[in-house]
Symmetry: C2
Subunit: 122 residues, 2 copies
Amino acid sequence: MRGDCEDLVADCRLRAATDLFAHRWDPVVLAALRLGPRRRGELRVAIGGLSDKVLTETLRRLRANGLIERQAYPQAPPRVEYRLTALGESLAAGPLRALADWVTEHGDDLLAAQEAAERVAE
Amino acid sequence: MRGDCEDLVADCRLRAATDLFAHRWDPVVLAALRLGPRRRGELRVAIGGLSDKVLTETLRRLRANGLIERQAYPQAPPRVEYRLTALGESLAAGPLRALADWVTEHGDDLLAAQEAAERVAE
DNA sequence: GCCGATACGCACCGATCGGTAGGCGAGGAC
DNA sequence: GTCCTCGCCTACCGATCGGTGCGTATCGGC
């Protein structure tokens, strides 16, 4: 999976970046963590719609990519907080933000174009 | 699939945007088309690594999202060109560009973080 | 009349992804 | 002692995705 870059063309770096958004909830969790460290349970209810298992996988991936870090407090009911790393923060503040801004500005155009295309496709 | 937004939380617009990058080759084709209109065959060799069928699907999706448009010339061997729409151009110039820039700047950090995490995970 | 180039379409396959359902371990509350 | 919470794990399942391989329509060249 890493060896792709050798036999592919120029865009493999782009691919490496877009892969960070490839899983449905990764960007959402990233965005949620921009507001500050959050506990696992908080993320679940704050985001809503993602299953318990998927949240685990998502957090694991984000950690594996060095975008977030995990901090466990030795408490009675276990308490675990997740926060953005510097790398994750830079991704969230840059490209992720740009995406959010773009949708804010062009979201209506996007929806209109999608519906127009649907109509054409009969 | 459109109804998600009602029962999900705030981030559904973000999701709508990240979905545009959800398929592996969509962003790459988008980036390739930034350089100007391209024929189907040109895209295939320029990108390299994506199958014929997947290119078809990718182009279809991008069209369905109103990001590119197709122009067919009635010629001997069929000639079809794909180009960015205004919407596609804005996406490519904004968020996609931001992603590419981010990778250029933080790609090494990303790789280092991934490898560090791999080592920890034994 | 046959071949080749181009832009598709279709059938099939294995891998992956998101989701459901249920279990586990550790400690506090009662 | 029993229940509860919280974080996490383990099947299992259906849908989707990317990929391979092969077929097809059209036209020009030879």
